[in-house]
Symmetry: C2
Subunit: 521 residues, 2 copies
Amino acid sequence: MYLTQGLKRAAQIKPNVLATSDGARTRTWSDLIERVAKLGGALRELGVADGERAGILALNSDRYMEAMYATAWAGGVFVPINTRLAPPEIAFWINDSETRLLFINDTFAPIVADLKAADKIPSVEQVVLMSDNAPSNGELAYETVLDEAAAVSDAERGYEDLAGLFYTGGTTGRSKGVMLSHRNLVFNTFNSIASIPFSEDAKWLHAAPMFHIADCLAIFTITQVAGQHFFIPGFTPEGVLENVQQHRITDTLLVPTMCNMVVNHPTVGDYDLSSLRHVAYGASPMPEAVILKALEVIPECKFTHAYGQTECAPLSTANGPEAHVVEGPMAFMFRSAGRAVPGVEIKIVDDDDKEVPRGEVGQIIVRGPNVMQGYWRQPALTEKALRGGWMHSGDGGYMDENGYVFVVDRVKDMIISGGENVYSAEVEDAVYQHDAVAECAVIGVPDDKWGERVHAIVRLKDGETADEEAIKAHCHELIAGFKCPRSVSFRDEPMPLSGAGKILKTELRKPFWEGREKQVS
Amino acid sequence: MYLTQGLKRAAQIKPNVLATSDGARTRTWSDLIERVAKLGGALRELGVADGERAGILALNSDRYMEAMYATAWAGGVFVPINTRLAPPEIAFWINDSETRLLFINDTFAPIVADLKAADKIPSVEQVVLMSDNAPSNGELAYETVLDEAAAVSDAERGYEDLAGLFYTGGTTGRSKGVMLSHRNLVFNTFNSIASIPFSEDAKWLHAAPMFHIADCLAIFTITQVAGQHFFIPGFTPEGVLENVQQHRITDTLLVPTMCNMVVNHPTVGDYDLSSLRHVAYGASPMPEAVILKALEVIPECKFTHAYGQTECAPLSTANGPEAHVVEGPMAFMFRSAGRAVPGVEIKIVDDDDKEVPRGEVGQIIVRGPNVMQGYWRQPALTEKALRGGWMHSGDGGYMDENGYVFVVDRVKDMIISGGENVYSAEVEDAVYQHDAVAECAVIGVPDDKWGERVHAIVRLKDGETADEEAIKAHCHELIAGFKCPRSVSFRDEPMPLSGAGKILKTELRKPFWEGREKQVS
């Protein structure tokens, strides 16, 4: 049970069939496995073997996928890095994981060159530029590395061996590395096949960012079934529409914000989207208006809501096309995150981890072969998250009589904005670093475009001044743009506190959400 | 990752939906899990826990399935026993596995009572009669045991813990217990979902014997997807036809001999078979004439050829509906056993375990999370079968350029007659016990009804006499009827021998197979 096994099978049964298509570049499965075997050889020479880490900081491409498989082939561990991070955050991920080799594309060459020059990423011995352009900062050229390498045989690390480190935000304000083993990732492909349509005639568009576990699900599962991969460097609604039409794309995964931008695009009617038969979505609640619009714009297309989290590799529940209807007994059941996927156990529990009756809200906990090994070098956090052998999702929800899970709140203080998880604590940490700030609470408030938007409520120190723009600009220096507050409000009174002395965010959220139903995921 | 997890999920998402239907008796998933939890409690009281073995010697029924799940729930290991064995063989399986508790149905009550009375199965402490009739030989009554038991929580043995012992014939003439772990059996359900249609709206007819790993595949996989189980005690073509019509059966698994009897049944046209959408078949080669007839009689029904063996839990390759056509580029590709299923590796190797080029015949070897732990208490045989980490199937075959495997011969000396594996050595062992026999070779010869039939070639000792009927009758005293020679021929010259002194069966087979193409599986 190891990740590259799927690649070997695809090469065995479809050697001369298209595997990847990225712009003008196409590869068959036998091309691909040959390149992976060579790049794997190069990586091993460069020290990426026996569990050593290779980071990937790049926009989507066929080479991104090659780099992941080659790292596994060499016996290493890949570390996909969020492309929207601020440089200090990038450095933190790299340093925390002790990444020895870093794959980048042109976009990130200047940032990484700066980080290297400032000695901020000392563990990185080599940077490999995945580009047809010549390196200009001392990077190794990807195609040269590959050309000059000798193919090696697969290291065949598998089962409990670590395959990837996926960083996720944390309530403590710092990202932590989610350790996913070969078993976790391979098992997730089978959970996915069993609950989302994945078939060998699929033409899958990688439109969601490949550093995210949701798109990794598609990378590994489409390979597992020997379907075809198509790539766009980053999401734009036009990019999706054009590629679907041009390549007769059959399947993709989008977060609801993307889905919204596609189905409400002014020229959506100009494209032939008839090839599109299935869209999986997840990572955040889908507004009802978007689903309804989608069912109208692409009526032949089916939808599945996939719910999970990085720690679950990621799939935990799924809700299929039969729930994406507005009439009959299943009408509007798309409001649910669906039912436990085969092989995965879901329970709703109280604070003592006792299962609550159906219909009662508790924390959603998850168990199965997909659940992470733990947080990288964080035994205390690991033990807490995995107590009793179950992953504590941090999400609040209830289960109906037929096992449908409704996510009603985030127990962890997290905002989902445009499909990205933003941890309030991390944003608060940044806001608090402003000299004028006395007290701060960051909450999610309803936003028509982003689902939720990051909103900061600030109380200034006596005699200090700072306006909304100053707070925003301050945050932009410290954390990724998508995490920064999009709006700021000021108050003079102290924050409302709970008996335990915690800021009562429920109170703070109330005025923003009154008269609106909080979306379920 | 444990077998009863699928049952728990089905009970979570479909508590009030039909799970099993057997004659007049139906159970919902919540009925079923309650019964399993109680029977599991009873089993634990009776000593079936912590890996202790419970045998099952019975015709198909819902209770057979309950007994399997309850054994796993209790923490025990189930041992499904071939219903066609002769009493000494039954005793051998029970004794070899040290079965403590034996589930039987009425059919086997007299045989088991005799075995107990003769002290031939000393390890068996309790016999449980799965029947509505009162026990008459001191057995425990199944429903009474269940009624009086207190439900216990699942032992949750899983992953590498042993789940089942499945006995299979051996070239050494003795059955050996194939050790299948929870991981093996659970992973096989996912291999199956990924390559055979298994959907939650399936109504599956268990027509093939449940002691066989092929039907166990369906037991565990239909539960995994929360489909519905229907049972008939044993295969008859009328039973299949009537049940398909009555229950609107959608899916089933048949061996080719059964398929033949169904599609060529004189009254097949009188039944409404329109609900039948998919038939999986395996365990032996399917004659072309049967496939063609099936495509004619039930044109809406799709076929998948599943190839595997008990040691692979069992699925290794599959060949889907796209290959069951007689026109176009895939015409007659149903002659192939198909391609490696997702998650499973297949190679064709020479005697040194080196992969041979495509198109060349070698031994089919298999690797994956489905491959058995080994043979029960047979470390030498285990090491040989699993050398290099691959299961050596004993089947000869080749692979085409697109990964399609064609099985061309049995490297192991095995005859497949009516879907049952018959090991020549075991039959020869019986024939040789006849006092008049000097030399004997048992081979498979073509048979229109059974695919292959067991044929014995015998050279008698000088001055001794024995006719065909005497040889057959002699065998019937020693081994199961299906293993006994259906025909016997006599020769005066010694058998042709290889350089290594082995009987050259290829020479002996020739006159029977001349002018006929040996079927591929």
